[in-house]
């Protein structure tokens, strides 16, 4: 244990080695992601350009388009061009609109972020207090009824996939009650339903995780120590139990938060939200491969960033995790 205080000379501070290790992992994952996105088009059986333009398209057009996309070069050359393009922000051209992919992404990404970030915030803001509250209320086998109600409600809500929830919300709140618009992102009220649809399931799962983790933390010796110091209950729960419960919660909740990145695709399609999600569905149908490739890359990077953020948060919350990873 004491070794951790003074790590062997070369390693420097545990924080530095953590940063190096974690950024290294991020870089490798990013490279794998980019390479996979590149290979995606190569893996499509047959000629993607022919597939995209249709059987009736004249041969000259197909050839011209192939040349424009650089598909006639060797694989290595294409790879090098692709990587070079990415460095300069060139994601290629959309095959249907002729617009640069980076431009399409620049147009659509803000709408997706406007949906995903508030949904993230709602999940965190709802799940953590709720999970903590129910852990405290039901600790040591108290309030069995409350526990049952909490568990069954969250299990049920988590079982409904976000796009089905979205449809149900639209049917009820938009069509029946007329409170919110059915689609689009024209004004503030149009954000309500998509954000709820996206956040409700993950919030339920996370609240359950927070409760279980808090319960197990409350059984720890250091909670008894905190109580022996006669701290008010508020401090025992918020200062001593919560940070420890959050570390385990984050480890498990990270995967769920990345799932929300993908969840936006379906929700956007329900609400005809002008974001990346509706664009990727269309472009898959239209076989606009460069556009799909670009958007897949953006989503993938989003996932990697969420994972990275979770790990950094973990390290801050629980300093042991910076060392433990070895």
């Amino acid at each position: 244990m004491a070794v951790a205080v003074a790590p062997a000379g070369l390693r420097g501070s545990p924080w530095l080695s953590f940063a190096v290790r974690r950024l290294g992992r991020f870089a490798i994952s990013l490279w794998v992601l980019i390479t996979t996105a590149f290979l995606m088009i190569q893996l499509i059986p047959g000629d993607p350009v022919r597939a995209a333009l249709g059987l009736t398209a004249p041969v000259e057009l197909v050839n011209a388009r192939r040349a424009a996309l650089g598909l006639d070069d060797t694989l290595w050359l294409q790879y090098v061009h692709y990587l070079g393009g990415l460095v300069t922000g060139d994601f290629g051209m959309s095959m249907t609109s002729g617009q640069p992919v980076s431009e399409v992404i620049g147009d659509r990404l803000p709408a997706t972020l406007q949906l995903a970030l508030p949904a993230f915030a709602v999940v965190i803001a709802v799940a953590i207090p709720l999970g903590l509250l129910f852990a405290v209320l039901t600790r040591g086998g108290r309030r069995r009824g409350g526990e049952l109600a909490f568990t069954s409600t969250t299990v049920l809500l988590a079982a409904i996939p976000e796009f089905l929830l979205a449809v149900a919300l639209v049917a009820f709140f938009s069509v029946q009650l007329g409170w919110f618009p059915v689609a689009g992102n024209a004004d503030a009220s149009s954000f309500v339903l998509p954000v709820i649809a996206l956040a409700l399931g993950p919030a339920s799962v996370l609240a359950r995780i927070v409760r279980v983790e808090t319960l197990s933390v409350l059984g720890n010796d250091f909670i008894r120590t905190a109580r022996a110091k006669r701290l008010p209950a508020r401090l025992v729960y918020l200062r001593h139990a919560l940070p420890n419960a959050l570390t385990a919660t984050l480890t498990m909740g990270g995967l769920m938060l990345t799932g929300m990145v993908a969840g936006t695709v379906l929700v956007e399609n329900v609400f005809a939200w002008p974001g990346l999600g509706s664009t990727i569905a269309q472009s898959i149908l239209q076989k606009d491969y460069p556009l799909v490739q670009g958007i897949v890359l953006v989503y993938g990077i989003g996932v990697l960033l969420v994972n990275l953020t979770v790990d950094v948060l973990l390290a801050v919350l629980d300093p042991r995790s910076t060392i433990r990873e070895n």
Binding site: G141, V170, V175, K229, L231, H240, L266, V303
Partner: protein, 628 residues
Amino acid sequence: MAKWFAALRTPVGGFAAALLTLVLALAVFAPILWHDNAFAIDTDAIAQGPSAAHWLGTDDLGRDILFRVLVATRLSVLLAVLATVIGVVTGLVLGTLPSLLPRPAARLVTSAVNIAVAFPGLLLVLFFSVIFGVGTHGAVFAVGFALAPAFARLAQTLSASVAGQDFVSAARISGVGRMRLLIRHILPNIGEPLVVNATIGAGACLLAFSGLSFLGIGVQAPDYDWGRLLGEGLNGIYVNPAAALAPGVAVVLAGLAFNLVGETVAGVIGVRTGLRKLSPRPVTPAREDAADARDDAVLVVENLQVAFPRPAGWTVPVRGVSFTVRAGEAIGVVGESGSGKSLTGLAVSRLVEAPAVVTADKLEFAGKPVLTTPERELRGLLGTSLAMVFQDPMTSFNPTRRIGRQLAEVAEQHQGLPRAKAFERAVDRLRAVRIPAAERRARQYPHEFSGGMRQRAMIGMGLMGDPKLIIADEPTTALDVTVQRQLLRLLARTRAERDTAIILISHDIAVVSQTCERMLVMYAGRVVEDLPSAATPRHPYTRALMAATLDLETDREASLAVIPGRPPEPDRVPNGCAFADRCPAATDRCRLEDPALERVEPEHRVACWYPAALSRPAKETVTAGGAE
């Protein structure tokens, strides 16, 4: 298989099984029964809401939604199952491949799986559907392959756990080939959890597939599954919301059916029993000689009882304990584990939490009744005047906060010191307990401290206030002998400098008799003897404990003294003397009547019908202590 049936007999399991049976029955029979109804075009009722003729309305060709939803069960379930099979098989191959491949290739596969697992399933589905193309076939492969990484991970974890077991090692040593090892020994042992997870996976595939069809990437017209119906229904949601909701409900129910069946089977290992209604708590009558009340008493305990509700009734691990601690006095509480000594320590400091119930005829700390005063009023007093040192220094500090801050909390909370001042005080107290480089150490986390240092810091935490009493519960058990001695010296010094009383709870009678002037010997939740450390013990149990300790005079040729038998479980304490079964001097009276703790000398109380006579030396009487 027995486990599966056991799981399905629970209410949730039964519901899940019924639901799954219904879904599967619909998948088989619905297309046979209602195929024509689902395709019949009613030109009089195009895109209508629910009516008597069409319970869920019609689509924009005038086809009945209800029949279409029912008939779509087959395709939806079939595609989900197909995708699951592809996913599980691919995952199994990917997951077990590393155990067959040479090292570098194995590592490559493993890390590829690890990276893929980090991405959400839907993103993988979209990725693969680009490669496999739009349409039913492409979607089946896309959903299946998207499931594969998760299963590969599962197979890896499972087979790793099996591979470490003895029978696999034995097979490996006896020269069984890797392939054979995998097929004959590992796969059969991970089969069950894999099937359970595949069932859950089928639910996930069903949802993923409907999502894909909803996006228009999956099933193409004129075929239809629930996802496609949902997409079509959404377009006409203003006319007929039921057309969008019905397939949605179908997806959720079917998904839930697969999921619940899998989850209940997975969770069946722990059997839950309901909490029965509790009988009234047993009451222990005050049977002990009340320790004489003194003006300088720090702690007065009379007839303390701690009871826990258990499914079978109340368990009472502390059954009527009385003692007094005077200012500056050091008393030891000894006894085997389970004797209730730790619980007594927690109970007098009001740290036993519900559902346990603490009662006492009198429980006063520094003149204040501990049990009846509201917690808020006691907080300041207990927080500054009563210090606790717990057994395991490794787990008693919050791992996410710096040591200094954890000490400073006390001063911030109870003495109203500002942050910086409180921290200064913490550093000062760390110095007082001889932590070197206290300033720097205070900024470190618990994991950067050694065990002995943490225990010192714990004492330092107790010194943040002005403690009248330190309750140390096995403070040295987890530490090595040298550190143990330093720590006891530290406690003794603290006591001398501040006139602090100490309750030292320990199973080690030697440690206690060196450190404390008085001993409470506990057995089965009760004090059986209360004596000055220097006095000759008179209870057979105390004498046996003494005989079981080693010192310089112990005859090294003689066999080591042991007390035969074990103490009674707290829920099975006999009516008579709890020690009777192990006592060499027990008579019928001991087995029938429980002796009270009675004063035999001014400073000596014993609970025994036949306390040893004073004249006889301790070590001779207990010869029963021979090895069993």
